[in-house]
Symmetry: C3
């Protein structure tokens, strides 16, 4: 998320009513997985202090005033960095309340077919020659390319599932980001594509997605991927170009799936996978390795019986 | 489900045009997992006769007039207890046919934001400061607390998946119950929360649920639980406070998950689990036990090869 | 898909601006899994040439003019059989663009309850005594029997997930078929039922389906089946009568599941299964065999430890 102008750390400290150290300007803010120079990021656990301070971020919201501040950076000091970050999201990207079924501020390209019962939020951009099927919901913060198909009851821009656990409730991180669907993307019926927290969830050109697929916040998907039905992808995942995921595959938060990888149905991916290979099982491993394990498991009962007889 | 007044078993017998034995009054009715004193319950298989007769229920609809009736209870005798029970649901909680997008009989609290395209059924109650996103469907029988978020195309109050198999069709049990979402509950996009058969499906205060989660009829979920995307929970499940279920977990009907349990992604739960532990796999077992099995499976192919060489 | 009259192969060649060989008339077209005599089918890979030429189809669109043509058949010769087939679908079953929430051309039976917010496409047929819940989407090409229940936000007639991979994009096969739901079928909330490519996806009388189930294009489901929540069935699957699939089961494309089979929760079916048995696991095998494997896996870590000690 980029701001309309750079903000001095002293201005930000005033907005958050907190102390600061160091001297720097910020012109944007982001989740730790997606920060770029100029960004504000937050951290509230000593375990992640160094990761945040050494990241590309220029300003770090933190609950410790004794940390060493890298050259050219600054910190904002508060007991509740999560809440402070949330305040900034709310300031820089206030929630847009829709009042119309199709917002008058939405820009819809030529030859784009919007069927009955579609919802289109404020400032949504949709390119040319798209088809949006009945009941699809496209929330504000969505930018959609040309020749995109969005099938019935799919949701583009649902809220990030991102909370801070408090004593008596989960405090939700506001979702100030959006969703980008590049040209020729196709989204199946009843899919849910979460918006980014401060950045965009992005689906690359030509990627086609079957029904009932879930894609988490800030996930980046490459070009020409193919995902079968009921795949579930967590937040902050990186999927490179040409990846195939078969039905009901699940991918954990933060993983990277290399270019051209194929993941067989129902596999569970708990860590990053190299491109160009075929994977299977839970945790997903190279399919031929997994098949060998499965074959050995098949003969195991007889082996155990044999061992018992020999004793 | 509680009635407006107690009904004598003789009255009920007249309504159902059937015989009765014993003397008792009933002031409600419920599914066997949820009965309380005063309730009517039904049973039609000798295997479950004693369970029904010894339950908290006061009146039992049954297809056997020779059973011994516990003190203070009564039975209604019919060849088709399921159909008789269905008749009573229909009498005490007739289906409410909606005719408006937002029922005039619905009560909606202050500062609650109902976005375009939302459906709200007859007599639905929604508290203050809620946000209901475009396309959400809230059917009659739903009671929703304060500060609740319901995302796009989520369905609150879908019908219980509960049938009696007949020769040529499945006879559906009518759904006369509802759904309670307590304060600060958050429901993801495209979730489906079934209503109770005669009682409430209940989600405790502060529980947050990601997209595309299914929750069956009469399931009770505690406070401050967190369920990731594509979790599927069957009917009549009890989930205690503070339980975490990661993506694509499935839970079988009738199971209890103890307080604070954590279930890792894609696990399948086929029986009740103690609280305070971490579980994994299908059937789900303690994760460290499962990891040990997985490690041993990984070396099994080489061991088998070795055994063959030695022979 | 049947045409209004037979077309001579010379006419078709003219429409496609391509060459032909042989003499025959076609009165319909279909996907290879569903062809009947008189149909046009396509093939573009030598591996499948014989399958297509020897199928029930009468006319084969093919990218090789040197194949031997069976007696009574004809071929249409083009470099791009997929694109040619797509052109014919578009000609014989042009996309119907809906302009109304409930099409005036839809035929809706008596005592059928269509609740607010339902979409019904052009020429849809719905029988008597049905209940269609708020937010359900029934696209053109759907034929629905009597006493059918379709719950909220379910989608009947989403597009087939069927593509030809090109250099820089996936070329979608047009969906010119439809969906048939026979009498007494019940479809859960947020289900997605894809239409056939040129034929019908079909769900047999009395089959009941829980929430969030996916059914692919051209799949045929028998009578009196019961599918629990979050089941995913690919395209061109054949499920015979009385099959039970428990929660989160997945079935691969083209498989046949025999009459009365029961598949336990979360199983993955990668090939056809005989009827009358209970299956479990991934790949799904007979449950008792799988249980034996699971029991042996449970003792494996101790056996391996033992083996190490003995060395």
């Amino acid at each position: 998320m980029k701001f309309s102008r750079p903000y001095d750390v002293s201005e930000l400290a005033e907005m958050l009513n907190c102390d600061f150290k160091g001297a720097a300007k910020a012109d944007g803010m982001n989740e730790i997985h997606r920060v770029v120079p100029g960004d504000i990021v937050f951290t509230d656990h000593p375990k992640y202090f160094q990761k945040a301070l050494r990241s590309e971020a220029t300003v770090v919201i933190i609950n410790d005033d004794s940390v060493e501040i890298p050259e050219g950076k600054a910190i904002l000091i508060t007991d509740e960095p999560f809440t402070a970050f949330n305040k900034l999201i709310d300031f820089f990207s206030p929630m847009q309340v829709p009042s119309e079924q199709i917002a008058t501020s939405a820009r819809i390209g030529k030859n784009t077919l919007v069927m009955p019962g579609v919802f289109i939020g404020n400032d949504v951009e949709i390119g040319d020659d798209c088809r949006i099927y009945p009941g699809a919901v496209i929330l504000s913060g969505s930018k959609i390319g040309n020749r995109v198909i969005i099938q019935s009851n799919a949701i583009i821009g649902s809220l990030a599932f991102y909370y801070k656990k408090r004593e008596s409730r989960f405090e939700r991180l506001f979702s100030g980001g959006g969703v980008i669907l590049e040209d020729d993307v196709e989204i199946g019926a009843a899919c849910t594509i979460d918006r980014g927290v401060t950045d965009f969830t992005r689906i690359g050109a030509g990627t086609v997605i079957d029904n009932q697929v879930q894609i988490g916040h800030d996930t980046h998907i490459g070009k020409m991927c193919l995902f079968a039905s009921q795949v579930g992808i967590a937040g902050c995942v990186n999927i490179e170009d040409g990846v195939t995921l078969w039905g009901q595959v699940g991918i954990t938060s933060g993983a990277t799936i290399g270019k051209g990888a194929v993941v067989l149905a129902q596999s569970g991916i708990s860590k990053s996978l190299e491109g160009g290979k075929t994977y299977f099982g839970y945790p997903a491993e190279e399919a031929r390795k997994k098949y060998r394990e499965m074959a050995s498991l098949r003969v195991l009962p007889d082996i155990i019986e044999q061992l018992k007889l020999e004793e």
